[in-house]
Assembly symmetry: C2
Homo-oligomer: 116 residues x 2
DNA sequence: GTAACTACTTACCAAAAGGTAATTGATATA
DNA sequence: TATATCAATTACCTTTTGGTAAGTAGTTAC
């Protein structure tokens, strides 16, 4: 009975992790979200933050994040045309997840240096 | 000056996130770690937790996690041979990251249902 | 008129990730 | 002798991901 209960908790957690993973999976999504955590940005500004991303990948991943309500695209009819990307409330709600990711990333690197 | 400082913070965070992403990237690593957060497990037990993983993938990802000091492999000379996998301290240090991942995963699903 | 800036898109290709199915090898049981 | 369990491994194939390079379209400065 105890063991079965514990098993169910594990199954529940495995399912919840899938939803989050579907969004953060991929080389560029987390970097894009981190960049936008530092303020609304234009296409070119994100490209300059993430120096090794190609316009194709940036465009593709911005579309994905917009479709999943993580970011918003706003077109300004200025001359030269500008497009601003910003995080939605849902996007902003990833903040503590990202903080833990960064914290663990730093800890992991520190441990690697210490042990090798 | 202010803007430049802010930019440097963003760059630093982008770099830290890469280290973490290199480890958690992939379809199966996070599920395996979650499974092991619920106790040390044998190969077959993890397979039963994560029902749709193939032995090839499980074996491959366990090796990766072992190489990166996230888990430990212990062979028991019992008959039938058993192999136990457990989290290292480094592996256990992912706990709050995983908690945030699960929390956000649940929030994300809830928001999707609410808005569509 | 031509070069540059904005924000992309498109075609093509290579590499990585992941799936399927069969097999391995040691031991134990019927 | 045949079958089952445990923990994988191997070969082969498909899908997904990501990279490169070039092009597009509108506006503006020289």
């Amino acid at each position: 009975m105890e063991a079965k209960r514990k098993d169910e908790v594990c199954q529940f957690r495995l399912m919840a992790s899938r939803d989050a993973l579907d969004i953060i999976q991929g080389k560029w999504r987390i970097p894009i979200i981190i960049s936008l955590m530092h303020g609304n940005k234009r296409f070119g500004e994100i490209q300059r933050d993430i120096t090794d991303i190609s316009p194709k990948m940036l465009s593709q991943e911005l579309k994905f994040l917009e479709m999943n309500k993580i970011i918003t695209r706003t077109l300004y009819d200025s001359m030269p045309i500008t497009v601003e990307y910003s995080l939605t409330e849902l996007g902003k709600s990833m903040n503590s997840l990202l903080e833990e990711l960064l914290k663990w990333g730093l800890y992991f690197r520190k441990e690697l240096v210490r042990k090798d």
